[in-house]
Amino acid sequence: MRDYLLILLGAALVNNAVLVRFLGLCPFMGVSNRVDAALGMGMATTFVLTLAVAVSWLLEHYVLAPLNIQFLRILAFILVIAALVQFTEMFIRKASPALYQTLGIYLPLITTNCAVFGIALLNIQQQYDFISSLLYGLGSAMGFTLVMALFAGIRERLALANVPAAFAGAPIAFIVAGLLALAFMGFVGLPVR
């Protein structure tokens, strides 16, 4: 139990996908103008990332490893994630139109999100079992959502702040992102991997 909690915490905070591993920076800068949009993107990513890690783990251990073709991992994972996102979109559209309205525009964006792909690959490197993989995916996605929400909140305030002309807009957002990354380095002190 304690191990699982540490995996979750380690993935969310210590090895945060965005601020420590620098994955998924495009939605981090692109969809963080408003908090509700950032949360929508975060929720959609959480959903897809957890599923993608699970499916890629199954693929790795039941298809790629037995056939001894692990060198095709990148190609196979891209295929899986793209198909999965498509499938998820269709399913959500049928099952819950309300959720589709919220996530709808963000789901196709996630197909090309390097965080999803990166976490699926890193997960294989960590050699976790299935349950730990699921938690690793969920934890990474929660960390992503947390950072998105934090950053969007800051940017909403930045929009009203009196920023020097040379820094207005994207530059100050990048500076803030750098400071956030510095702040997240503080979590290195936690006793997790």
């Binding site: 298809v63 073709i69 196979a76 198909a83 049928k94």
Partner: protein
């Protein structure tokens, strides 16, 4: 190599099959009115109406959040047909002839920035050559105007040609 090829091919086939099955099982009946509105709209997703693409605009129109005159590229003709399709009446104010992009050849430096922006490929001209607007294809979205470094691209009222010249409206004597 054979194993790798076979594995990837079968994976691709499997997912393709899965997706096509899912597309049938999870098919959502689309709104017939939305299809009709979508067919009327230009479909180039220029975003001038403020909605994300023509699909978003169609949703807003059906929900009654937008007025039929929302689409600048469509001009008055589209506004009229949208109003008919939605069963609304249009404000009688005519917006005059549609605005189309026009290039002042004297100032064009052939930077080719405008052509990349054009959603309908209406701007002709190779890099470092003087560009020109193909008026039949231009729909006046104005995306090219912003990128022109010499401001030689402007939206101007369409010059009447034989294809769409109309008799002037009857006017009161001495008005």
């Amino acid at each position: 190599m054979i194993v790798a090829m076979a594995a990837l091919t079968s994976l691709g086939l499997f997912f393709g099959l899965l997706l096509s099955l899912a597309a049938r099982i999870f098919r959502v009946p689309v709104n017939a009115q939305r299809e009709e509105i979508m067919a009327l709209l230009p479909g180039v997703n220029c975003g001038q109406c403020g909605y994300p693409g023509c699909g978003g605009a169609a949703d807003a129109l059906i929900a009654g959040q937008a007025v039929p005159t929302l689409c600048p590229p469509g001009g008055s003709a589209l506004a009229r047909s949208l109003a008919t399709a939605l069963g609304q009446t249009l404000d009688s104010a005519e917006n005059g002839p549609p605005l189309l992009a026009e290039i002042d050849e004297g100032r064009c430096i052939g930077c080719a920035h405008c052509g990349k922006q054009c959603p309908t490929d209406a701007i002709i001209g190779a890099p470092k050559q003087i560009h020109s607007v193909f008026q039949e294809a231009c729909m006046g979205c104005g995306l090219c105007v912003d990128v022109c470094p010499t401001e030689c691209l402007q939206l101007r009222p369409q010059t009447p040609t034989l294809a769409h010249w109309l008799w002037p409206k009857p006017m009161l004597e001495g008005a």
